[in-house]
Symmetry: none
Subunit: 415 residues, 2 copies
């Protein structure tokens, strides 16, 4: 048996998204509707009723983990998803290249994204990773650049702690704050805060003097002269999916965060050519990569980001169009190529991103299950309202365990 | 955006309540039905499936708190709701004036409600609050009278504990029990039990000698000559709604308990003129007070008690009549006056009070949500059976967080 979990990020909607309909209702989705007609629908609260999910916590919950118990912060997933090695005790961060000016002992923020720097970031990253801290002994740093101004950062050493505040002021004109240990966090947090504060100063010295930034200055571009850090976190204590269910699988996702969550749960990472994590992503490539991966693996977790991006951008028609493209180019291809006697598929969102809110909301999301062991319900189309009347009812999180259950993969609890 | 949560106490019903129908099904409710047609319904287990809710625990759960984690007992909500100041470490009780006779060292209960004493209770309360305990040093007492025989009582002092048994025997003819520390409760509970037992004796001395009781004796009425205490509790550790969601609101309720729960969650208390907490309450006044409160506050929690009172009295027609009056005088007025582009409303019960049981049952309650971000479902009327087929499915508690979610007020969990 094989299993596919498709999470279309921010898929869910509200009635004002498309003139009394949700984007999913407004979109023409013959492939999804055909699957709904053969399978069963339900409503899922990604974490719980009335809980507004983050992307990291909702994915953990949908994959079967309790985010209230295991979640330590976002940075570690970004680091893992960017291919960085994370060991026990490492403290991980999301990072931004930013532009600051000196102000007294500190720095004032001029551009939080360093003019959305588009080249040279890898050279800057190498220079940052070469920094040797002096104030705190035995602590090493690693920086890796991602798209544009984005990056990830790891502090490595004994006795560090994730219980520190971020150094991103989030507001132009504000002073870059010092990292501080959070309440009652002890000596490790103090050491970690000291290391971060030294890194902030040293990153300015290294970056300000770097040839890439001198060149940017000549071109009148804001220099990427500091690194802002947030999402402090360490490796969550997650029992791997292979250990829990005895099956092996892969994550296919354009976005580093989603790859990172999959890796933290013990999945293999497979990159689909042309998968960008954006609205322009190559959905056919993702479908084909999924089919190839299933030749040798038990399951695939396939993440699609465009639905959420359109929601954050408050672009209803773009969300409708992306859903239609997903239906035709991804779902349609899977429907045609999968062996439906041997496969269960689930498709849901990790949360709702309503158009007029432009951020994650608390609404439950529609979930579709299809395959030989799914008792078909009365639904004839895939949408929030069809799911509200679906045969599976409403529950919280755990979509992957429900999917695996149809494959009889789940361990017995008790005897 | 604005939000209104209406809890009609004991609203739910069972098929024998009104000849094969529930009282809600039997009642003519055009305003509620119109809201149901525009909004969406679901079934809510106030605390959880098969859990029979108290009024205090169910309200905590519906407001988004876990009563298993935060509930310490009922007394503290009664004290808060009656306007008494409660500080950390204070031990609070519900209190009854009762009639006893001396029996050896103790007392035998003659009338648990002191003949439903209807006047002079405030004079008696003042006399009780003047008692200075001698057996236990540094402990002060405060008594406040409520309606008829009811009151509330606080013990104040260092090192007290709520882990003591009650002094209400609940049965005429029984001996008034001594308060005892409950299992493994330690020194604080022993001190508290001693203080309570001294108070019981002293309350008898003070009350027996009081002019009000001498006058009652002359009139052949049972004297209110002792105070029975139950619901020992201290201030629950509740993070305020303002701290959790960043919004400010008020509780409008005739009953002290409900005001107390609202106050414990950080709501402001607003008293509607003519709101009695009984079947005769002025529902138009409560609706108008709600509308006025929403001019300056973000949300209102409006509590209506009559539905439950009729249920406890096992009076089906009275419950039907009260529901019809609530529909016309409260819901109808709100429907006409609210700005429906800017408001979400939820209406539910805190539990079911079936007519032939006359007490809280475990049945789930119908919940209605309506407003611009609610995806309308197929329901065309408001009732238990329509809600069972509603588009929102079934979940436990958390009605306020779900309501606030439609207003985009909830903090994100995760990133």
């Amino acid at each position: 048996m094989k299993a596919i979990l498709i999470i279309a990020d921010g898929l869910g909607g509200r009635p004002r998204d498309a003139g009394g309909k949700t984007c999913l209702e407004a979109a023409r989705t013959p492939s999804l509707d055909a699957l709904a007609a053969r399978g069963a629908l339900g409503l899922v609260d990604p974490i719980g009723p009335g809980i507004r999910p983050g992307s990291d916590t909702s994915h953990l919950s949908l994959l079967g983990y309790d985010p209230h118990a295991v979640y330590t912060g976002r940075g570690v997933f970004e680091c893992l998803g960017m291919g960085m090695g994370v060991g026990p005790g490492d403290v991980c961060f999301r990072a931004n290249f930013a532009t600051v000016e000196r102000m007294g002992d500190g720095f004032r923020l001029l551009d939080r994204r360093a003019g959305r720097i588009a080249s040279g970031q890898e050279d800057l990253a190498r220079a940052l990773s070469g920094i040797r801290l002096k104030d705190v002994s035995g602590v090493e740093v690693e920086f890796q650049a991602s798209t544009e101004h984005r990056g990830a950062f790891i502090l490595r050493g004994k006795g560090l702690s994730r219980h520190v505040t971020e150094t991103d002021p989030h507001e132009v004109g504000a002073v870059v704050p010092l990292a501080r240990p959070t309440l009652a966090a002890g000596e490790g947090a103090r050491r970690t805060a000291s290391a971060l504060n030294e890194f902030t100063k040293r990153s300015f010295e290294v970056l300000e003097a770097h040839p890439i930034n001198r060149a940017r200055a000549k071109e009148g571009k804001p220099p990427a002269n500091v690194v802002l850090l947030r999402g402090a976190s360490d490796l969550p204590r997650i029992e791997s999916i292979e250990s829990l269910y005895g099956v092996r699988g892969a994550v296919i996702a354009g976005g580093a965060l989603y790859r990172g969550v999959g890796l933290a749960c013990g999945m293999e990472r497979i990159d689909a050519p042309g998968a960008t994590g954006g609205l322009d992503t190559d959905l056919r490539s993702k479908a084909q990569t999924t089919l190839r991966a299933l030749e040798r693996l038990d399951y695939v977790f396939l993440h699609v980001k465009g639905t959420d991006t359109a929601g954050h951008d408050r672009k209803g028609p773009a969300k409708v169009a992306f859903i239609e493209r997903m239906d035709a180019e991804l779902v349609g291809l899977l429907v045609a190529e999968l062996d439906w006697d041997e496969t269960h598929l689930a498709l849901t969102g990790d949360h709702t991103t309503p158009i007029d809110f432009g951020d994650h909301s608390t609404d439950p999301v529609p979930a579709l299950f299809v395959g030989p062991n799914v008792l078909p319900d009365r639904a004839t189309a895939y949408s929030e309202r069809e799911a509200a009347y679906g045969g599976l009812g409403r529950w919280s999180g755990r979509v992957l365990p429900v999917l695996f259950g149809y494959n009889n993969w789940n361990p017995k609890f008790g005897s």
